[in-house]
Symmetry: C2
């Protein structure tokens, strides 16, 4: 089953990678005020139900993929 | 205007970060076959129309955010 987990900084957290990206885009002439950078994980998980996949992926986010102090995450099932 | 650009490896390209993430998840006991990692950029762009925002973001992906050799990207307008 393919699951998509998106990990993004919580609002208000400092995002140096986003700031550098915004600066580079402005130097190229793009009218960009700000950029926030996040990560997407597309996971191929061996489970039998959507519920189990979502539960396990939530646990993966808490234990490895996201930083509980500064990240938010969203999870969705792509296909079964 | 907030625009979301998602940059992911084209199918078939080697993804060392994804492979390491999959290995770590398996070591934690998760039944994961494979992981692909991508990036999400949420861009605050100063433009007057959706069309202009999409056109500029497409150009940003080609010029800076994505590697044309190995990345695919998708763009969507989040709000105006």
């Amino acid at each position: 089953m393919k699951i998509r987990a998106e990990v993004r900084l919580k609002p208000g957290h400092f995002d140096p990678e986003g700031d550098v990206t915004a600066k580079s885009l402005r130097e190229l002439g793009f009218p960009v005020d700000a950029v926030k950078v996040g990560k997407v994980y597309v996971l191929d998980v061996k489970v039998n139900s959507k519920e189990e996949a979502l539960r396990l992926t939530e646990e993966m986010c808490r234990k490895l993929l996201a930083n509980p102090v500064k990240d938010d995450y969203t999870i969705e099932v792509l296909n079964t």
